[in-house]
């Protein structure tokens, strides 16, 4: 299915939960409302015509000027061979979004990574701990305003 068809299908099904689309970008994307994410993702995965069975990547992007953090889901379908980019916009001060680990198991580590590096909290994640950084690390390095700590357990940073 083309992007336009997928968008119409989603718009027809979820209505105002689908906030925006951008098809000028090289990879066109759809922005959805964070509160319906699990519903929409489940629909995307289980609907026969869509069959997005492969969650490739979850990325977080920090936009401090607009005060938002975007969580970007790149999903693909092995059966149909099509792809889709879903975005969720969260407030920067308190980014909370529902976890999609119930939909794709591969979301487990990917969400942990986003939590670790950007501080997005995934509600309903079974094991939301830091994954790449040590447990007692402070701050989330991929935020644009992150300041490197001067030292970590007595190890100087310079």
């Amino acid at each position: 299915m083309t992007f336009e068809e997928i968008y119409t299908l989603l718009k027809g099904r979820f209505g105002d939960k689908i906030l925006e689309k951008n098809d000028e970008n090289i990879d066109p994307y759809i922005i959805i409302s964070p509160d319906a994410i699990v519903q929409i993702m489940r629909f995307l995965k289980h609907e026969k015509e869509l069959a997005f069975d492969f969650l490739s990547c979850i990325s977080g992007v920090d936009y401090p000027d607009e005060g938002i953090i975007e969580t970007v889901y790149h999903i693909f379908s092995y059966l149909k061979g099509h792809k889709l980019v879903i975005k969720v916009r969260l407030s920067r001060d308190n980014p909370i979004v529902d976890s999609v680990t119930g939909v794709w198991r591969s979301a487990d580590w990917l969400e942990r990574e986003v939590y670790d590096l950007l501080g997005v909290k995934f509600k309903g994640h079974p094991n939301l701990r830091r994954i790449l950084l040590p447990e007692d690390w402070e701050g989330h390095p991929l935020r644009k305003d992150y300041q490197e700590p001067a030292e970590y357990h007595g190890i100087p940073n310079k």
């Binding site: 990325s59 970007v72 794709w104 487990d108 990917l110 830091r130 790449l132 950084l133």
Partner: protein, 374 residues
């Protein structure tokens, strides 16, 4: 007779970060009941350098050498994927010869990477000699690389808009000779390890990943194909003229046990070596004359936008998600590392097996910690 009064304790064993067969600094906390493993929990991050943050602070061409350091065994594939992402966003047209050179480099590098995987997997099952045989052939590849563009591990072959150096007829001949020896030696490899009864017993039916589970956990590359899913980005989402080459996609068939066991994953890698040699031969034959680098401005500014490009790395699907704000540096660079996603399956399959199986399973997933931790 009841044996309720016999109490046994589960032992919690720290396998790694320093352990001979965890491929670097992976730490597995293994809960065992005697030899039986009841739970395995991987802990990663010992090699974390925050490559994504580095990506935000250097210019587009300057990040290419950093991609070498992700999956250091398949560095050209990483270069290639990043360059494709930048070129796609910038709309740069790569000369045809450069694309063929990239393919040759990437496929040679894939062979080198699979040779290491062959050697280390042999080592994990206790056979030392395959390791040296694998390195012997890899050394030839490295010599070719050294002759071609001068580096042996961190290649930095692909530049934005092309490749660093052209091959001479002499190097092309070297590559052809290597392919010939590789095919001959490949049979020896299999006699020595692949079909050895002990090796088959150690790996067949161990760490079985059914295809549904493999897809669910987002496995890619040989791990996915080992489970019998015929999916290779080189054919299914082609880049660099891969769709015009004639090669097979090996998938796990359960030749020795169940579909998706460790032996199948291993065997997919071994067969990919042969498929890669086919691609290289065709690329050498079809390569046109011409420029090897497109005209790229010295200070490269990318238009505002974002792109997600994925390539078939030796370990699976490598993805670069590039967000540009119109400047000379990436606004955000996310790396989707195949080893990272493949490793996430360990605590699902490394349980109710023997201690020795944990090592075989982790070995059959074939991770590179440089990429897992980034």
């Amino acid at each position: 007779m009841s044996v309720d009064y016999l109490h046994t304790h589960e032992i919690l064993v720290n396998m790694g970060p320093q352990h001979p067969s965890t491929h670097g600094v992976l730490r597995l906390v293994v809960k065992t009941d005697g030899e039986w493993v009841t739970e395995t929990q991987p802990y990663i991050g010992y090699l974390h350098r925050c490559a994504e943050k580095i990506g935000e602070s250097v210019e587009y061409p300057q990040f290419v050498p950093y991609t070498d350091r992700l999956d250091y065994l398949g560095a050209i594939n990483n270069n290639l994927c990043y360059c494709l992402a930048v070129e796609r966003l910038a709309g740069i047209e790569v000369p045809e010869r450069a694309t063929y050179l990239r393919v040759i480099g990437a496929e040679l590098n894939r062979i080198a990477s699979h040779l290491i995987s062959y050697g280390t997997f042999g080592m994990e099952t206790g056979a030392f000699t395959p390791f040296f045989y694998g390195f012997r052939e890899r050394e030839t590849i490295l010599s070719i690389f050294e002759k071609w563009f001068g580096a042996r591990l961190t290649y930095h072959l692909c530049r934005i808009g092309g490749v660093m150096a052209d091959i001479t007829p002499e190097i092309a001949q070297d590559i052809r000779d290597f392919i010939k020896t590789m095919r001959a030696v490949w049979d020896d490899y299999n006699t020595l390890l692949s079909f050895n009864e002990i090796f088959v017993r150690r790996t067949a039916d161990v760490g079985v990943i059914p295809p549904e589970m493999a897809i669910e956990y987002g496995l890619t590359g040989p791990c996915l194909r080992g489970s019998g899913v015929k999916w290779d980005l080189r054919k299914n989402d082609p880049y660099c003229f891969y769709d015009t080459f004639d090669f097979d996609i090996p998938v796990g068939e359960g030749l020795m046990g169940t579909v998706g066991d460790s032996w199948d994953r291993y065997w997919v890698r071994m067969r990919e070596i042969i498929e890669s040699t086919k691609i290289i031969e065709q690329a050498l034959d079809r390569m046109p004359e011409g420029a090897i680098r497109a005209k790229v401005p010295k200070i490269l500014k990318l238009p505002k936008g974002e792109v997600y490009v994925r390539c078939e790395n030796p370990r699976g699907e490598l993805g670069f998600y590039l967000v540009s704000d119109g400047g000379t540096k990436p606004y955000r660079l996310k790396i989707r590392a195949p080893s990272f996603c493949n490793l996430s399956i360990t605590n699902a399959i490394c349980k109710d097996c023997l201690l020795a199986d944990v090592i075989v399973i982790v070995g059959s997933i074939d991770i590179v910690l440089g990429e897992v931790d980034r």
